[in-house]
Amino acid sequence: MQDIVNALVLGSIYVLISVGLTLVYGILKILHIAHAGIYTLGAFLGLMFYHLTGNFWLALFLSIILTGIAGIGVYRYFYKRVLEESRIVPLVISIGLFIVMQDLYRLIWSPYRQPFAVSFGIGDIRLKGIVITEHQVIILIVTFVSLLSMYFLMNHTKLGLAMRACAEDMAIAGTLGVDVEKTISVAFFLGSALAALAGILVGVYENNVYPTMGEVPSYKSFVVIVLGGFGSLYGAVLAGFILAFTETILVAWKGFVLPRDAIAFLVMITVLMIKPEGLFRRATR
């Protein structure tokens, strides 16, 4: 039971990080590695605003907005110019950008790990030997709420329709009157805001914010979108949880036979061998 709780929390984090990546891949077909840099930025901004204001939710809000804007900046100043080029070009830019971002954070905020100690005052929940810490509770609630809002946005608003249309075919969506430019910016904003949310939640959960915290998520989230079927939002959500459960169950069953990251990639490779299009490829393609 304890393992299920842990896996749900881990899965929530994977999903929050990967949704933004999936949005970007779905529309632009770019592997946005720098997304992990955006995630780190969100965590640092959240910590900074928390120190300034003393109010966690206010800090969360400010960080999400600013990180979202930074995400739009990444699109406008870096990716937009090279959309016509071979897809390797934005990928290389993205990797470079990620490395530069990490060093920039180190210069601004020092290489030391910084604690992000927040208490929500609800205390840990203990039920028949199972412990759910208050941070885990917050992560589960916040993820649930954000995913629900995303679902509503994608399926019941014009904006969601525009995003889905752009993901199908940008040129046709444009001729049909969709403001492609605006839609892409919104996708970057949303994706980056969710990454910031993930960054802050992880920062609090692990009581730990540091410049290279995006390193593992940069390739883990990649596994999630590959498993999820390249650009499928539902796929990414399911894949995030599947990955978290696989890792946790393997560890519970066998101990740390393999590092978690190796497990993730093994799962990815296995799935790709059997089903090269990913587990949940978008039906309409």
Binding site: Q2, D3, N6, L10, D103, R106, S110, P111, Y112, R113, P115, A117, D124, V131, T133, E206, N207, N208, Y210, P211, T212, V216, T248, V251, A252, G255, F256, P259, R260, D261
Partner: protein, 377 residues
């Protein structure tokens, strides 16, 4: 006229270069070791400031040439050639990890330049040759000291061991286990984890069932803060014994709900020491760099102080003379418990057991029994 000007410049230049003794330092300022690298750099700078403001060495000031090895062995090798052949340093201090230090050690040996490794633990570093020395405590010594702490001081009979799966963790655990068994304790649980692991709950739940008296957990401060936090979450209240990897104020800060309290570690920096140099170091470090000193900073500080003493003993800033003088260095005025070098150029250091109380490090005991702290017994 032109030639005269050139000569003049040459004279001035050599006069300047004669006024300082050039010492090299390589530390990781980028890459995974960036935080330890910065602490090491600060420790070295503080030592140089201390030396230069206390009359220098042999009347000359020390000039510290510092470089970033990016936690990369290749880079450390490039820097070794640069420092020896271009900068012409008389000796080098490594404030870096085992990987870069080990790679660079063979180069310094070949170029016949003394190198002192401040805190890298890999046993092969000093095996590069007679120009290579180490200030840090060997994993074998530290594991052994941990076993004495667990069995003799804390009276443990059943011990659980958590092993970080790298050089550092494995060699510590190996030394700990063999000594603990020798002392009559039983290892009731054992699990390995990778350096990046963050979730120990599953393993800790299994560990709990074996009801150990103490838990010996190898790891760095960022693993350790997770281990103690999650252990408390799961209601594990046995003493957790760590080692110098825990020795950072961040271990306490990154643990949640004051979970670090009660943890006992074996390390080198005695925060409650009465020695003037230790008091000065702890106070000045915090004043200057805005954060409490850690083991890495203290060890790098000492590496620099040892080098200074060697130059004094040698009577001249010459590579060969320094190499010959280093084995003679000894004394009391070091920040860690450094006493002397063995014939295999490993440090004999007192092992300090610290306990965390009220979110700060305090002395529990000092292990100075030569049969425990002498490397290569």
């Amino acid at each position: 006229m032109k030639r005269l000007g050139f000569l003049l410049i040459l004279v001035v230049f050599s006069a300047v270069s004669f006024a300082t003794i050039k010492v090299g330092l390589f530390v990781p300022l980028t890459g995974i070791g960036a935080d330890d690298g910065l602490s090491a750099l600060h420790g070295a700078q503080l030592a140089v400031d201390y030396i230069n403001s206390h009359g220098g060495v042999l009347g000359d000031k020390i000039e510290l040439l510092q470089y970033d090895d990016q936690t990369d062995p290749k880079q450390a090798v490039t820097l070794a050639y640069k420092m020896v052949q271009k900068d012409r340093v008389v000796a080098v201090v490594s404030g870096s990890y085992s990987g870069p230090t080990r790679a660079a050690a063979s180069i310094y040996q070949r170029l016949r330049t003394p190198m002192i490794s401040a805190y890298a633990v890999h046993p092969d570093i000093t095996k590069a040759g007679d120009f290579i020395f180490r200030v840090g405590t060997l994993a074998t010594v530290q594991g052994r000291a941990g076993a004495h702490l667990a069995v003799e001081k804390l009276g443990a009979k059943k011990i659980a061991v958590l092993i970080m799966d790298n050089d550092f963790g494995v060699s510590l655990a190996k030394a700990f286990k063999s000594e603990a068994i020798k002392l009559g304790a039983k290892i009731v649980y054992e699990a390995k984890f990778s350096v990046g692991e963050k979730d120990f709950r599953t393993v800790l739940s299994e560990l709990k069932k074996t009801e150990p008296d103490v838990i010996y957990a190898t790891g760095y401060y960022f693993n350790a803060s997770k281990i103690v936090t999650q252990a408390k979450e799961l209601g594990i209240y046995q003493t957790i014994i760590g080692q110098e990897g825990y020795d950072s104020p961040l271990f306490i800060e990154l643990s949640k709900n004051h979970a670090a309290n009660g943890t006992v570690i074996t390390t080198d920096l005695d925060r409650d020491s009465e020695k003037p140099v230790v008091k000065w170091f702890i106070k000045e470090y915090e004043k200057k760099y805005g954060r409490p000193a850690d083991m890495v900073a203290a060890s790098t500080f000492d590496a620099m102080m040892i080098l200074k003493k060697a130059i004094e003993l040698a009577g001249k800033a010459d590579r060969m003379a320094i190499k010959k003088a280093l084995p003679l260095v000894g004394g009391e005025d070091f920040v860690t418990g450094f006493k002397k070098f063995t014939s295999s150029r490993e440090a004999v250091r007192e092992v300090v057991c610290q306990v965390i109380l009220n979110d700060s490090f305090h002395r529990l005991c000092v292990i100075s029994d030569p049969s425990i702290i002498t490397p290569g017994r």
